[in-house]
């Protein structure tokens, strides 16, 4: 673990987190497939997780790591519900294009 502290500076982790997050945002905005949009959300969540872990390590603070567990837990639950919704939507509409699913009902 020590090589992290010596070899890679903090800002790199944060930069990676920011890039991943931006990728998530852009993916969310430009992709039409609902599953891709969903994956983008996961990407954003994990980018945030990365910065949480980074800061927690930097400051020897356990609360950041606990936060990450919470986020992962919520993400898992969200994945289960979200995928179920996606399946239901696909069954009803035979499409997964987000701009076709704008009626707030099936």
């Amino acid at each position: 673990m020590s090589f992290l502290q010596h070899d890679v500076p903090l800002s790199w982790y944060l930069l990676l987190s920011a890039i991943l997050f931006s990728l998530g945002v852009v993916g969310f905005l430009i992709k039409r497939n609902l599953i891709t949009v969903f994956m983008s959300i996961e990407l954003m969540l994990n980018a945030v997780n990365l910065s949480f872990v980074t800061f927690a390590y930097q400051w020897h603070e356990v609360r950041g790591q606990i936060f990450v567990f919470f986020v992962m837990m919520v993400a898992a639950a969200e994945a289960a519900v979200g995928l179920a919704i996606i399946i239901a939507v696909f069954r009803a509409r035979s499409t997964l294009a987000v701009d076709r699913i704008d009626l707030m009902k099936l």
Partner: protein
Amino acid sequence: MNEPAHLWLIPLFPFLGFLLNGILGSRMPRRLVSAIGVLAPLVSLILVLGDFGATVITAASSCRGCGPVTALALPAAESLSFPWIAIGALRVDFIFVLDQLSAVMLLVIMGVGFLIHVYSVGYMRDEPGYARYFSFLNLFLFFMSILVLAGNFLLMFVGWEGVGLVSYLLIGFYFQRNSAADAGKKAFIVNRIGDFGFLIGIFLVLSTFGTLSFGDIAVTLSLEPAWHGTVLTVICLCLLVGAAGKSAQLPLYVWLPDAMEGPTPVSALIHAATMVTAGVYMIARTHLLFDRAPVALWTVAIVGAATALFAATIALVQNDIKRVLAYSTISQLGYMFLACGVAAYSAAIFHLVMHAFFKALLFLAAGSVIHAMAGEQDLRKMGGLRTKLPVTFWTMTAAVFAIAGFPPFAGFFSKDAILYAAFLQGTGGKLLWFVGLVTALLTSFYMFRLWYLAFFGKPRSETGHHHATPMSMLVPLVILAVLSVCGGWIGIESFSAYLKPVAAAHRPMPTGNSSLEFILSIAAVLAALEGWLIADKYYRRKTERPAQLAAALPTGYKLLLNKYYVDEIYGALIVKPLFAFSKYVLGGVDLLLAGLAWLLAGVASMTGMILQRWQSGNLRSYAAWLAAGAAAVLLFLLLTGSPHAWSLPFFHSETIFKVSHITVIQPGQAGH
């Protein structure tokens, strides 16, 4: 006393009936609707009977215990109260008081009300809106029992307005008919004038006494025995305006004849037996105030006597059977006001009860006649119904004799008590007595006129195919007929002894003697007999005479037939100017307000048109806005420096960034 909390049950059951029939009635079978509608007043009637027994026992024990009336406050047999309104110094309790007066009233309301509900089952059988009818009727009983049980002015006013509302709804029951809808509105608006007076009276009471509770007012008055201020007179005159509106006295009586547009059982219950007597009840309830205001009392007496005579003269020539009865009701209410005006409150209530019996019976019998004539109400087209409707005929006969004041029928005792009490009040009282006597003659005449026209002679029209009268209509008629015959046998002495703790006048009353009373009652009976003989002559033996008389006195006849043109005068003096005023003056104001409203609406819809582009329904555009917003906040934070310097009024930077404070300090020493 014992279990005071069950008073709320009395209004509860009619209210439940109203809710059930009002909400679910249109989906329920008619039998269930009638069962609910009839059971609600029956249960309340049984409760009232129980309470009434309790008050009789209380009255008996209190008479034995103490000679003079020592009670300062209302001698409440039972009461129920909890805080209702408390604003600063103003404190109004939700208080129900059951004393002798409210017990008598409740007995009449629930008793006659129950009979009329039963009657309605038969009468309204084929009408549309059956459930609506019964739910309104139950609602009426609910509000009326609140009015009667109320222990302060405000709660009484709630019941007062409530019965006004139900009266409006039921007058306009056949709302498809223009005349019915108009009559409902007329009743409502004319009552507003009276209610305005009542409200002013209530406000004056509040500012004078600092309380609205009848009991507290009684205590205050008893502490100041010499208080006879003008304030009390003004309060009483305001209350009189309210009472005159509700009880259809001059000059606010005009709504009652038109109220006959409603179904006949409604006329019997609301516009004859109970609601219109609320004014009399109110004066009797607040009589401690009236006792201290002799001017107001005289006004009450004069209004009553004038109304009695005025309405009786109109009733002489009316041809609609229900209108005759309506004017007769106004006239009899005038008698009750006359009794209140001479401080004979128990006589007024006695007449109220007897009147409830025989006038409800008259209306129900008239309803039976109308039912048999297939809706025909014109007396000139009736005739010869004696043999076709024997039960109706005999019950109607009992009622006619009762209202005309023949012994031993109910009306004799009560009317006699009123006339006697009036006669004892000095010279002015003798004048009032004379007016009452003339009215008694007129009453007897127009009632026997109706009796002869409807039941004797030959049928004057062939249109009526005679319906059979159902049992549910006949039984209430018979019960009410028995009451109209025997009701008066209670006697005014025992009745006023029972009411004494509540309704005895707190002012010096003249004493009479029994021989004078006997002579006066002979005079009253002679007047009634005279009226009968004239009616007999004109409408049985010489049936051509009325027309000749009308031809000989065309002005007088027309004046009476058109009810002294009062409606026309009110129309020309009040309604038309008001209409013109609203049209031209208020019309301008309306235009301004409407313009303002349009402007505001225009601004709102323009803003909406611009902003609605935002709500595209496109998920990705929302997400983009969200991201842009987050980026903007981030940029703002970066540009305005560190989070510690950053403070917006609605953020508490200390609490938000406390964590980072601590964590910033820690790196040096912490480590694991």
